[in-house]
């Protein structure tokens, strides 16, 4: 009896989880399906789910019109570059805040987080002028710098949270064994925080990949990543939803695949320390 109730509960929870998953995934699925429709079918009412004339013409046209590979490479370089640069700065910062906190550490952390609350457009003109004067407009280096700075508070906060879960005594023991600061961080702290660092890295890559405001405003043709590629297919005058969907599918596919293969690591990292 009790076993049947447990099974029913399990089934109910499974169904609930699948339903939520489908609801969350549905917009992406719909975009992918629309990318295989003609423009007329893309706006048909009522819409057809699977019974339509499947076509690859949108993908062909997108390929002909845009240099997908250039935008893709820009996205890869900008998101990986900004994540690695961010980690380089954030690891020592999070270490010092977690293991050698000062009186103002909490205030500093809150201040860092508060910078995320400023609407980006508020600093667009000063940053644009800085980029213009330093020749960084429409360069990958410029985008790496700006995305590193934008995502740094999140990286520091995430790493700080993970590092805090590591007992300070272990680091202390390493120091007593003669480990210097570099060895302590590289050989003791980082291996223990690998799940946290991996999830921080993945999350930051996703955030940088999807960042649209700065990448659209500071790039033109040479450094424009996939966000600009998608924006070039949006139009308020003309129904080009099928082409827009094809461009969107091509833009999100790489990050979707990355997320799919690294989901275990991502979930493990994000729930690190949540259950004791």
């Amino acid at each position: 009896m009790a076993r049947a109730a447990t099974n029913r509960r399990k089934l109910g929870l499974t169904l609930l989880a699948w339903s939520i998953g489908i609801v969350i995934f549905f917009p992406i699925l719909w975009t992918a399906l629309t990318s295989f429709k003609t423009e007329a079918e893309a706006v048909a009412s009522p819409p057809s789910f699977l019974a339509f004339h499947w076509t690859l013409e949108n993908y062909t046209e997108v390929q002909q019109r845009s240099d997908y590979f250039l935008h893709f490479m820009n996205s890869v370089i900008v998101s990986l570059g900004s994540t690695l640069a961010g980690l380089l700065v954030a690891v020592p910062a999070a270490w010092s805040m977690a293991f050698v906190p000062g009186r103002r550490t909490r205030d500093v952390l809150m201040w860092m987080l508060s910078t995320k609350m400023l609407p980006p457009v508020g600093v667009l003109i000063p940053i644009y002028l800085l980029f213009r004067d330093t020749g960084l407009l429409d360069t990958r280096v410029g985008l790496v710098i700006v995305l590193t700075l934008i995502n740094l508070p999140i990286i520091v906060w995430m790493l700080f949270t993970y590092f805090r879960e590591i007992p300070g005594e272990i680091l202390e023991a390493a120091r007593m064994d003669g480990a210097g600061l570099k060895a302590e961080i590289l050989y003791v702290l980082l291996p223990m925080a690998v799940p946290g660092i991996a999830s921080t890295l993945l999350l930051n890559v996703i955030l940088a990949w999807n960042e649209a405001f700065w990448t659209l405003n500071l790039s033109a043709s040479q450094a424009a990543p996939l966000t600009a590629f998608i924006a070039s297919y949006s139009s308020p005058e003309g129904l080009f939803y099928a082409k827009l969907s094809a461009a969107s599918t091509m833009a999100v596919a790489p990050i979707l695949v990355l997320g799919w293969f690294s989901q275990k690591q991502l979930v493990r990292g994000l729930t690190f320390g949540a259950v004791k």
Binding site: R65, Y128, L129, N217, A220, S235, P236, G238
Partner: protein
């Protein structure tokens, strides 16, 4: 050996020489059918000008507007050619942000440009942007539904006729709505339509001392007519509908009438996209017997930022892209129905174009009827038909559009929306120094 080295040296020198001379033009443009076609055909230009290469930056119009405004205001110099609307040209030329187009060549025939379009791009007798395509607005209607209801659409209808017909043609059970109009908030969305409609009711945005006029009778008549019409004969959720939403509704047979940009005619009459392609008729935008019709005037234009260091190459590209020869090239490669409309008188005199585009006459009449210098019945201190060509208009127009969209959604009454529009426009115009 020596000879081989000399040859290599000469080749490298020739290559470097070519590289040094070659100029790359960065062109910022919008994503629409005509602009994409221009990109496809640009090889013809580069073949004739091997020393010029083209870099395209195509963006959605609102993103483009933000990008090029930031760039030109800060003299960022990222673009050599900008695609800008008739709203930006007078403001930016006054700021000396644009270069006058005085080297378009002897064959350019600037006199062939439609006067109403050309006037909006000219300042102190100088042309600051060349029109790539122009549009006005008109009524598109379902001939079959009109016939079934025993109605005949006049070529120049009045608002009273449109209102009666819309109510008669509405069959909400069958999801057929008498009229589809813009309701989505924005200065280029519902306010483009409502400002043009207000002109035909004798309303104006500002009086001669820049005082907002939303507390006047013509604006009240405009808004109550619009809200009443949409309540009785408009589709559900109309407050979220812009051009694309209404296009989808019309193409799928859910609207008996749609008043919007003339460029829509090529979409709704295309059998590959539209279920009602062979049933569409066209008429001029309605009037109210006051001598002004409710049609707007817009053009996408090519201009050169004053900071560009490649002005000569940029002018030769603009001269090519907006020439009569380019129109002929599009006609040859893609057919007459695909040529960019609304810029040149010669196009409308061309029998082949008139045959391919049955809406050509009405488009021309609509464009000619719109006068950016005298948009409404009364005198105004501004230029622009469906906008006011001042920098503050984008903000004010969108805020007023939000109030009117809220009234359409039933969140406030027409009077409340007008009061709100009057208060916010007065506040902003005072803050900007127009009202002393």
């Amino acid at each position: 050996m020596k000879c081989a080295l000399s040859l290599i040296g000469a080749a490298v020198a020739a290559f470097l020489g070519t590289s040094a001379q070659a100029e790359t033009l960065s062109i910022a443009t919008v994503n629409n059918g005509d602009m994409i076609r221009m990109q496809k055909l640009a090889d013809h230009f580069t073949k004739a000008h091997p020393d010029i290469t083209l870099n395209w930056v195509t963006l959605e119009e609102n993103v483009l507007r933000q990008r090029v405004t930031t760039d030109i205001a800060t003299k960022g110099g990222q673009y050599d050619i900008l695609t800008i609307g008739t709203y930006e040209v007078p403001i930016w030329s006054k700021q000396n942000w644009l270069m006058p187009l005085d080297k378009l060549g002897a064959n350019y025939d600037a006199d062939d440009l439609l006067p109403s379009i050309r006037n909006g791009l000219t300042s102190d007798g100088k042309l600051y942007a060349a029109p790539f395509y122009g549009e006005s607005s008109m009524v598109m209607y379902r001939k079959d539904l009109f016939e079934k209801a025993g109605l005949t659409m006049p070529e120049a209808p009045t608002w009273a006729f449109i209102g009666d017909a819309a109510r008669k043609l509405t069959d909400k059970e069958q999801e057929v709505y008498g009229i589809c109009l813009r309701g989505k908030a924005g200065w280029g969305e519902n306010m483009a339509f409502l400002s043009a409609m207000a002109n035909s009711f004798g309303a104006r945005w500002f009086d001669m001392s820049w005082k907002p006029q939303f507390n006047t009778d013509p604006w009240k008549k405009t808004l109550t007519t619009y809200l009443g019409l949409m309540k009785d004969a408009g589709p559900r959720g109309a407050s979220s509908n812009g051009f694309n939403e209404n296009l989808a509704l019309f193409q799928t047979g859910k609207c008996a009438m749609w008043i919007d940009a003339t460029v829509a005619a090529s979409f709704v009459s295309n059998p590959a996209q539209s279920k009602v392609a062979d049933k569409v008729g066209y008429a001029l935008a309605p009037d109210n017997g006051l001598g002004k019709r409710s049609n707007w005037l817009w053009a996408w234009n090519l201009a050169i930022p004053a900071s560009s260091k490649k002005a000569d190459a940029a002018q030769s590209f603009i001269a090519w892209a907006t020439s009569k020869e380019y129109i002929d090239l599009v006609a040859k490669e893609e057919g007459w129905s695909n040529v960019p409309p609304g810029t040149r008188s010669s196009l409308y005199a061309n029998p082949e174009y008139r045959k391919a585009a049955p809406f050509a006459d009405l488009t021309l009449k609509s464009i000619q009827a719109a006068d950016p210098l005298h948009p409404t019945v009364q005198e105004v201190p501004y230029t622009g038909v469906q906008f006011v060509a001042i920098p503050e208009f984008q903000g004010i127009g969108t805020a007023v559009g939000q109030a009117f969209s809220a009234a359409l959604a039933g969140q406030m009454t027409a009077d409340q929306a007008l009061q709100s529009a009057q208060a916010l426009a007065t506040r902003e115009m005072t803050k900007a120094g127009y009202i002393k």
